[in-house]
Symmetry: C2
Subunit: 671 residues, 2 copies
């Protein structure tokens, strides 16, 4: 046996001969398989455990036995027993003495991956900016004047190859006590392998991060375990700035017209972020001070306000950003109460009206890695639209207004329990049935009458209509012939319409006994107009980019944002929100901006990708393009230019115009 | 005339031919003469003005005339007239057309120098870490999405060759408004050519810095103009930590024994620094928010407390520092209210007991650039001693206690108006005369009696004895034969001694009518003992280093610290504070640590020098060296081993022992 022992690593199947005496950790490294290790071979962390496969493996030409490894010491046995890891060894100490077949379990792999649950089920590599390493530091001794930080730097260089480090004052303040309490062993928390942000005595573990999508209306936070990539908690809150203005322009105006406007809005969002971080931490049994990094996305106005920068320049041409690039800064400089030395990463923007939220959508969906032409629309108070594939990409912003979020809709509300999110209208009776968030049964299956036991009553009555609900009800009204293609209520449908608030022509969606207030919920002519304007703006923006790129059709449509994964692509296309596309190639991916923030939180290389893409994508200014107005006007109708939507064939109400109203319901609303 | 025009620059006398049409600024640069320019040739700053010498200069082989330069534009003429600079031109626009002789005035030279007023009159090159540059930035325009910060970076790269810049959030928050108010011209304040810390509209000037020496007892601040190097204000304050402990060890104990001890002492010094910065700014007609950088020196305990680091490790072997190296951090992270984006630089330490203050002394005195062997002693509550020259240097710390600062002396006080700083004792009568700070006349020249007009009365009566006063009075007592060489009061001198506070043997230094309280001021046997212990510690430390270095004598002695420039080297040597040396080679340089802080503030290259020297000097631990105790005991006497002080020959009281007391004064003190 003059040959070195053979090591095979499963499940990758990689194999190589290694010098006898090498540890399994070294062997794996030699084969390009990264096994996690925090303690660096000190039998403290147990992160590097591997399963030893015993027996004869003819397929692999190998006989593997535990005797082919150095025997386990008492410490190793104790640690493995504590971890209930029978049949396992710690790869940092188990030395190869003969051929061996080893299974590296998922949790021991250094580069973990997590599956993002969404329409596209994307895999995220876990390679965060914050990590922990355990080191043994040379004790202080008389005659050595290097200082404890100098000694720690020496240890980090020798054991982990880390150099050019700086230390945050917070960590420096705790260094000496930690070294002595840990008997000259400490766990160091590093940011970007550049800055020491914490030092804890002995062996410690736990690094956490918060990804936040700051929307104009809603703020969504995702608390993650930065070691495993696991999502620990999701929290959302209203953006408190809504009291200063519903949409971006009104907030910019508020900042312009009030001396303390910027300051108030900045403090309001910081305050909300602090509460959100605390709530997310609490629901994961953590404290906000354990959040070591935060990544933010948001539209450009939200990011300006987050950073305390006056958004006034975003209110008028040429829409100049204070800063387009990604930024790293100290959370404490913003007044954020996370870990005292935590850093904050803000994703870059593309242009004055296409912000970090859209960059988040892009790194989550990666249209720039596709061969097909993908149209990505992210609908919030503004809509950002990106068209392209790996060779080129154009982006634009379209002033849809907040109608898709349920705002400026008479009975609109955000997507919360009690919001009507699904609607069907009987084309004969013109009566609607609906489903609300938080109650699985459709409204026509709700038991009625005074004798219904509490447990059979609907969990939530209807409180209003959310974004996806308003899309569906208007599309269904059109399909049922209640709306004319130009958006007017059909004159022959008066029987289905009611007088509401002194005005004629309100469509009854929910009757008083179906609502929380006891008052009916209507869809008004104004609501229809709002949605028409919004969808025309969205469609015109997409069309403008298609014209600019010289393409007549798109291969895929990805809908992100406000109505999240709840929108039914069919209804989006019936209303003409998006250009024609094969229906099964239209997907709704929910809050992809938030997903992008989470991806950037978990993978620091994605931040570099974000910066590259943000600079690369070509921004098209819709506001100054005369073609935009033309496309917009042409897109007001429902559905505008039926020819443009071959994939809607058979879905549209051919007989809508010939509709004769029935008169089954005649109840009138109080004036 | 095929030759290029000849340009001669005075006073350097450098000469070179330059292409016709080159500006004088370019010509100077080509010749290695740096002329200041903030506005970069935009006729805004006027900093680059030079004097044009007209006439024939046979010695230089040149005829110079104003026609040999391009004519001055109306703007240039206007700016020169405003500056009252007749016969001058602005070198950034005056183009060379013929031979010309130019005088570059001191204020136009880019590398200014200032003279430090001290015993050694050192020259400081002004090359601070903070500077201002004026730039024109490309206006924002539709279709350009670089962001204002991106555009500013482009301008700074193109006009000033600056790259890899970051921007402090404070500056970013002000960037957009400044650019628009300044019509796309701004003055940028840069730190270390790495970070933008402020942006002001249009042309602006004014960068200021604060150098601070944090002593255990006194905090001294020096406010400087960072462009000219000029000292604008000096402020000092008591270190408020004295209420938690007079000396270092008692403050360390306080931190150990009180849960909030560190926090209290940290807050106390920060509070005092804020007040000191505000006071210094006020007396220079500035605001503290205009202080763009601060440099700190102090002993290691003071620096730990400044940074909020528990000093407990400095209280016992092995005296480990949290950090030995220089540090840069944000002033705001320490709670300092300077410019909102100001940075703080802390000079490095040498070892656990030789701190940034000693490094300050070293870069001010530069013994490491000397050929002679220099002994540098910096006397505060601890004494730091450095011995060496350009080839080697040793440092040590010696526990002198605070006696030299006037503390632990019965009637001791700090050097303030009313403190006795000079003493002479008549060897026959044994009576003292003295001088107090703030009054030029010696006490025996003070007019007495009820009819003295107010303007002839002493400006200050005596309030106590400061450091240099206690040295002089004890040395004079010895010279007058009142003290025996072992420090005891001479038994034959009872006539000159009084009972004070129930104890015998107090020497009357000032009578009641000469003091602010109306009570006499005495020197007690305890005071003599305190000074003996302190001077023995200082001498033993110096001796230890001489032994370590294997040298029998030193060429020069530099005394820095507590008793400042006021100590008379003769008395220091009579008491045996310092080893023997030729008297005219002993100099007292005052607060050299503070000077070092000021030098590091004004010259960033000196910071690198400080870091190099701090690592290079070899620290000798006195506390654990048995030789130290021997030297200490041998040095208790006054003067110990007369043989060791050949340079005192003739100064010592040969006949002291034979002294017969006279009985001219017999007044007794109230019990």
């Amino acid at each position: 046996m003059s040959q070195d022992p053979l090591v095979i690593l499963m499940p990758s199947g990689r194999r190589d001969r290694v010098p006898a005496g090498a540890t399994l950790l070294d062997a794996a490294r030699q084969m390009g398989v990264e096994i996690e290790s925090i303690c660096g071979g000190r039998l403290t962390c147990g992160k590097c455990k591997v399963q030893i496969e015993e027996g004869s493996f003819p397929k692999h030409g190998i006989v593997s036995a535990s005797a082919h490894l150095s025997p386990a010491s008492r410490e190793e046995q104790a640690l493995l027993a504590e971890m209930h890891a029978s049949g396992c060894r710690l790869s940092c100490v188990a030395a190869v003495q003969g051929d061996v077949l080893v299974f590296v379990p998922e949790e021991s792999r250094a580069h973990k991956q997590i599956i993002r649950k969404s329409a596209t089920d994307r895999v995220i590599d876990v390679a965060p900016a914050v990590r922990q390493v355990y080191v043994e530091v040379e004790p202080a001794a008389l005659g050595h004047h290097r200082g404890d930080w100098g000694r720690l730097q020496d240890a980090l260089a020798a054991e982990w190859g880390l150099s050019d480090l700086r230390i945050d004052l917070y960590a420096l303040q705790r260094l000496q006590a930690a070294l002595r309490k840990g008997k000259w062993t400490v766990t160091v928390t590093l940011w970007q392998d550049r800055e020491v942000i914490d030092v804890q005595p002995g062996y410690a573990e736990g690094v956490y991060g918060l990804a936040v999508d700051i929307g104009s209306t809603t703020v969504a936070g995702y608390l993650c375990d930065l070691r495993t990539g696991q999502l620990l908690a999701t929290e959302s809150a209203m953006n408190p700035q809504v009291i200063y203005g519903e949409d971006l322009m009104s907030r910019i105006s508020y900042a312009m017209q009030h001396r303390d406007g910027l300051d108030k809005m900045h403090k309001a969002i910081i305050d909300t972020l602090n509460k959100l971080a605390a709530a997310a931490a609490r629901s994961a049994n953590l404290r906000a001070s354990q959040i070591h990094e935060a990544v933010f996305v948001g539209n450009t106005t939200m990011i300006h306000l987050l950073l305390g920068i006056d958004p006034v320049e975003l209110g008028g041409a040429p829409f100049a950003l204070a800063n387009r690039d990604a930024m790293d800064l100290k959370a404490r400089d913003l007044g954020l109460r996370l870990h005292p030395a935590a850093n904050v990463h803000v994703l870059p923007a593309e242009a004055g009206h296409v912000g970090a939220d859209n960059v988040g959508v892009l790194i989550a969906e990666e249209p720039y890695n596709q061969d097909e032409i993908v149209l990505t629309v992210d609908v919030g108070t503004n809509a950002e639209i990106v068209l392209g594939h790996r060779q080129w990409m154009y982006s634009a912003s379209s002033p849809t207004g907040p109608a898709f979020e349920g705002a400026q809709i008479t009975f609109g509300m955000r997507a919360a329990p009690g919001a009507i999110e699904r609607v069907r209208i009987d084309p004969i009776s013109k009566q609607a049935r609906f489903r609300v968030i938080g109650e699985e049964r459709w409204s026509d299956a709700w038991p009625a009458g005074p004798d219904v036991p509490v447990e059979e009553q609907p969990k939530h009555l209807a409180s209003g209509i959310c974004g996806s609900g308003i899309i569906e009800v208007i599309a269904e009204m059109f399909l049922a012939g209640i709306l004319l293609p130009d958006g007017r209520l059909h004159p022959d449908c008066q029987g289905a319409l009611f007088r509401w608030n002194g005005r004629k022509g309100a469509y009854l969606l929910a009757a008083g006994h179906q609502t929380t207030t006891g008052e009916p919920i209507y869809v008004t002519q104004d609501d229809v107009r709002s949605i028409q304007l919004a969808k025309a703006a969205l469609y015109a923006g997409a069309k403008l980019l298609m014209n600019r790129a010289g393409v007549a059709r798109v291969d895929r449509v990805v809908m992100a944002g406000a109505f999240g994964s709840y929108i039914d692509p069919k209804y989006a296309m019936i209303l003409g929100l998006i250009p024609d596309c094969q229906l099964d190639r239209v997907s709704a991916v929910g809050n992809a901006a938030g997903d992008g923030a989470r991806i950037a939180l978990l993978n620091r290389r994605k931040r570099e990708e974000a910066q590259r893409i943000a600079e690369w994508v070509r921004y098209v200014e819709t506001a100054v393009d005369p073609a935009f107005q033309q496309e917009f006007i042409a897109a007001i109708h429902l559905p505008h230019a039926v020819d443009a939507f071959p994939h809607l064939d058979g879905l549209l109400p051919a007989a809508a115009i010939d509709f004769q109203p029935t008169r089954t319901r005649t109840r009138r609303v109080r004036a």
